[in-house]
């Protein structure tokens, strides 16, 4: 991604100003604007951090500190889909290790990696708070619950 291509559209800039206006200090809108930036540019590169910093009058170092603190901001290109398997206690008791092993084998990648075709990034994550439906995982925006290896196959198959 070239530095020049990192800019929000006029409409998006209006949305940034709207978000900033919701908070007593416009910096409150930093997390929401970073979500927007990630949705727009794919991931939060150092250039994106610098661009977002400029929209807030913040130092790029502050934005970097924020981006690196949270798990949902990607600092490298990710796959078209992110599959995040919960490996916390209730999911562990319900077989999360099996689900994770199955996915690794099926996708031919380890946790934290992306398939060669750029289709799927695999993650193991802490409690997603859907323990009543363990084992479970998040696929992009969706929660997929009560997983079995067969169900996982069908879900992964449908991801393009």
């Amino acid at each position: 991604m070239s530095v020049q291509s990192i800019a929000f559209s006029t409409g998006q800039l209006a949305e940034v100003r709207r978000l900033q206006g919701l908070y007593p200090d416009k910096r409150g809108a930093l997390l929401p604007v970073l979500h927007m930036a990630q949705d727009t540019f794919g991931y939060v590169s150092l250039e994106v951090e610098e661009y977002v910093a400029s929209l807030f009058g913040l130092s790029p170092a502050h934005v970097h500190e924020v981006v690196t603190f949270y798990t949902l901001y990607f600092r490298q290109p990710r796959g078209r889909h992110v599959v995040a398997v919960c490996h916390n206690l209730s999911c562990h008791l319900a077989g999360a290790p099996l689900i994770l092993a199955h996915l690794k084998e099926r996708l031919g990648i380890d946790v934290g990696e992306t398939t060669d075709d750029g289709r799927i990034t695999l993650q193991a994550v802490e409690c997603l708070c859907a323990c009543e439906a363990a084992p479970m995982m998040q696929v992009d925006d969706r929660y997929e619950m009560n997983l079995t290896p067969d169900k996982v196959d069908r879900i992964v198959e449908a991801l393009r």
């Binding site: 919701l22 409150g28 930093l30 502050h62 603190f69 206690l89 802490e126």
Partner: protein, 406 residues
């Protein structure tokens, strides 16, 4: 079984819409509250014995009364919807299935504390709950419930358990990494953006319309002597029917497990985590405890977020502790040395114990490190890690020793 109050609409089609909420008595408490003085609302909530349902169990009315009386600037109401305590999922149900209950509760609470602006901090992973709640806020604006002296900003987090801790949440809301702050000053004195702020859990505020509608005495009578109301227990692990169970705060753990269909797996109980992973574990013989804040405190554990995780006797306690220790190592924010260092090293030791490479003195080292660090950090995160470290090892030491032969 208790009367369903918070979850009464969960089975109703389109319960998340304004239409259904109104048809089932929604926003009638607000109409009443608008006719009452702020002090009268606060008094009602005080008398109801409502205690915070996010983790600490602090009396809600008392917290509200800490807002300085002579303050001339803004006061903020912040709702903690960062639900992240392992084993807890009730706020997700409330946000998705009854979002207007939270909005109505917020407007009433705001009147009591004289706040014109509220924030709802929803964990970043909760995309569907965020969409549902945002749509409900839009409906409430269109209907004129919001925008008449009280506004709500819906804020999305970005993945960090520590932002559930109220001062970490405030840092995050202010556009910073979610580092907790030293208390005092408590948020009620100096909170979000430097102003007096009340932070309450989703479920806590969802109780408020019912307290106004049906009275403090009724609400207090639903629970135990020192805690009013019902609460939503998230029950998971080795039970036949995992799910959210709304029950009186005066229910015992044994009864609650029965409500969830009893122990699954082998059918024989080994242990229970009673209030989210940060609550010290209870052994099978300790489940006749009352599940209110004081009952569990007297049993040496805590009610926490009411996330109940059941272990049958095939569950390996050392392996469970390793999973829990991995969580605390991953989520420590790194600000305080005892927490940052101990969580990492204790996870490594738990890992090697489970791999059969534990040393005989590992257990005492973990206990020593855990006990020294407890109470020395800025926030209660580390105390929440120490709870499982100590209780799992002390109550099930034999299981650990069997793995530490070197």
């Amino acid at each position: 079984m208790s009367e369903k109050i918070l979850s009464r609409n969960f089975g109703v089609k389109d319960s998340h819409t304004l239409k259904v909420y109104r048809e089932t008595g929604g926003y009638t408490a607000l109409a009443q509250a608008l006719g009452r003085e702020p002090a009268a609302i606060l008094d009602e909530v005080k008398k109801s014995n409502l205690r915070g349902l996010g983790g600490a169990g602090f009396p809600t009315g008392m917290k509200w009364s800490f807002i300085p009386k002579n303050h001339s600037g803004p006061v903020y109401l912040v709702i903690n919807a960062d639900e992240g305590e392992p084993g807890t999922f009730k706020d997700r149900y409330l946000l998705e299935r009854d979002p207007h209950a939270l909005i109505e509760g917020m407007i009433i609470a705001a009147r009591a504390i004289k706040s014109a602006l509220g924030f709802v901090y929803i964990r970043g992973e909760y995309v569907e709950p965020w969409r549902r709640f945002t749509a409900a806020v839009r409906e409430a604006y269109d209907a004129g419930y919001l925008g008449q002296g009280f506004d709500i900003v819906v804020h999305r987090g970005a993945g960090a358990y520590i932002c559930g801790e109220e001062t970490g949440l405030i840092s995050s809301l202010e556009g910073k990494k979610g580092w907790p702050k030293v208390k005092p000053p408590f948020p009620a004195i100096k909170g979000a953006f430097g102003q007096p702020t009340i932070v309450n859990n989703v479920e806590t505020i969802c109780c408020v319309p019912h307290i106004i509608n049906r009275g403090a005495a009724w609400f207090a009578g639903l629970g135990s002597k020192t805690q009013g109301g019902t609460r939503m227990y998230s029950v998971s692990g080795r039970v036949t029917t995992p799910g959210v169970y709304e029950e009186s705060c005066a229910i015992t753990l044994r009864e609650l497990i029965e409500r969830a269909g009893g122990v699954s797996g082998s059918g024989r109980l080994k242990a229970v985590v009673p209030g989210g992973s940060s609550a010290p574990i209870l052994a099978a013989h300790e489940i006749d405890v009352v599940m209110d804040v004081d009952g569990l405190r007297n049993a040496g554990t805590m009610a926490g977020s009411a996330g109940v995780i059941v272990f049958d006797d095939t569950v390996s306690i050392p392996e469970a502790l390793m999973v829990v220790a991995r969580f605390y190592a991953h989520e420590s924010c790194g600000q305080c040395t005892p927490c940052r260092e101990s969580t990492g090293w204790i996870y490594k030791m738990c890992h090697r114990i489970v791999e059969g490479k534990g040393r005989k003195d590992d257990l005492d080292t973990i206990l020593d490190v855990a006990k020294r660090g407890a109470g020395t950090t800025i926030c209660a995160f580390y105390d929440g890690a120490v709870g499982p470290y100590i209780s799992y090892i002390e109550k099930f030491r034999g299981e650990f020793e069997a793995l530490c032969q070197r």
